[in-house]
Amino acid sequence: MDILQIIGASMVLIGSLVLLIASIGLHRMPDAYNRIQVGTKASTMSVVFVMIGFIFILPSWFGKFFTIMLFVMLTNPISSNVLMRASHKKGEPLSSKTVIDNLKEDEEKEELNKNNENGTF
């Protein structure tokens, strides 16, 4: 069983390195939206890797590790999505590299339509 333990421990090490890269990415990315992307993806993946490594080390605790993994995979994207929509609504600035923003265009169009309808009455 030694070799399984070493495989599991190396997977835990990979997971922690992914978390380290996420933390570097939080500093390198230019605006809040790209930071949310890097933070969510890398941190979710890090937890998944760590939990799979622990399943290799202690197979008798399979259920608990698997539940934590499923839980993080289900909830982390939702909370980040709430955060991103809120910051877009509040008007968090996009970086200068941004090419296109369809959501803002559509919202402005909707606003214009509403104003026109109000104007005719």
Binding site: D2, Q5, A9, S23, I57, V82, A86
Partner: protein
């Protein structure tokens, strides 16, 4: 537990700690509230891994219960903060 495996686990705990410190720097310098909330969220998920690692090293299953409560409450906290930023609470 195996000697080599335990050493690798200790090293990965050190890497996680370093990552937590770097994320905390983003929390301090983050120019807007959104950046701080991102740092808070990432820090929470990182410490989930750290708590599970402590549980494995100490061989006690009850520590994992702290983990799920922690994840649940921080999820609700981030959703509430998002609602607050959106001004629809």
């Amino acid at each position: 537990m195996n000697e080599i495996a335990q050493t690798i686990l200790l090293i990965s705990a050190g890497v996680m700690l370093l990552a937590l410190v770097i994320i905390f720097l983003r929390f301090i310098i983050g120019p807007t509230i959104t950046n701080r909330v991102i740092a808070f969220d990432t820090m929470t998920v990182g410490s989930l891994g750290l708590i599970a690692l402590i549980a494995v090293i100490e061989q006690r299953q009850i520590y994992l219960d702290v983990n799920i409560i922690y994840g649940l409450l921080s999820f609700i906290a981030v959703v509430v903060i998002g609602k607050y930023i959106e001004k629809s609470l």
